[in-house]
Symmetry: C2
């Protein structure tokens, strides 16, 4: 059978690239990705949004869109963000993760890759 | 505006939980998750399926469905798998990642959480 569209175990699943390159090339870890991840996780817990049927905040390895780093992706919508600081994370939490409104100003351009 | 459904940057994006618990609790790392991840990555490269518009194989932290570990999730379809060995990974690659056919026998039951 072809791929079904089951209800997603997590309503929204956000993955933060935490990759660190040791060879001098640009990587998300250089841009406070860990801090962004942790802030998002804390905010989602505080809002009572964590868990099955709601939101999961996840660490990820290299998402291979390094040129736009630090990056995060929200599934199942496949919406990619480039953020700078905690205020950006707050906006993603309050607008997108909580209310399903994409944060247009933080969207990663489709052509941005490694 | 509400969340749009843009074309997904990766046609299919599979995340392997590689979480390792040091406290004795069950975690995916105990069950050769690293080997499964690496085998999947090699297979996808060999098939010429790696990259934007195609498939991305990713490391992830704890996906919090530890009771079914080792687990992996394919987005944007939000299809969750519990696998055992390289043969299982091969089936996920050949059937789902390459041809969009879900591998029913490896599906993680919806009630399985941490």
């Amino acid at each position: 059978m072809s791929a079904p569209t089951p209800p997603s175990y997590y309503g929204r699943h956000i993955f933060f690239c935490l990759n660190e390159r040791k060879n001098g090339e640009q990587s998300c870890a250089q841009y406070n990705a860990q801090e962004g991840f942790e802030h998002c996780k804390v905010r989602i817990k505080k809002e009572g949004l964590a868990g099955p049927g709601q939101v999961r905040v996840n660490k990820a390895g290299c998402l291979d869109r390094c040129a736009g780093g630090p990056v995060a992706v929200v599934y199942p919508e496949a919406v990619w963000y480039s953020y700078l600081d905690k205020a950006d994370i707050d906006e993603i939490v309050d607008s997108h993760l909580k209310n399903g409104q994409v944060v247009e100003r933080l969207l990663l351009s489709p052509e941005i890759g490694r």
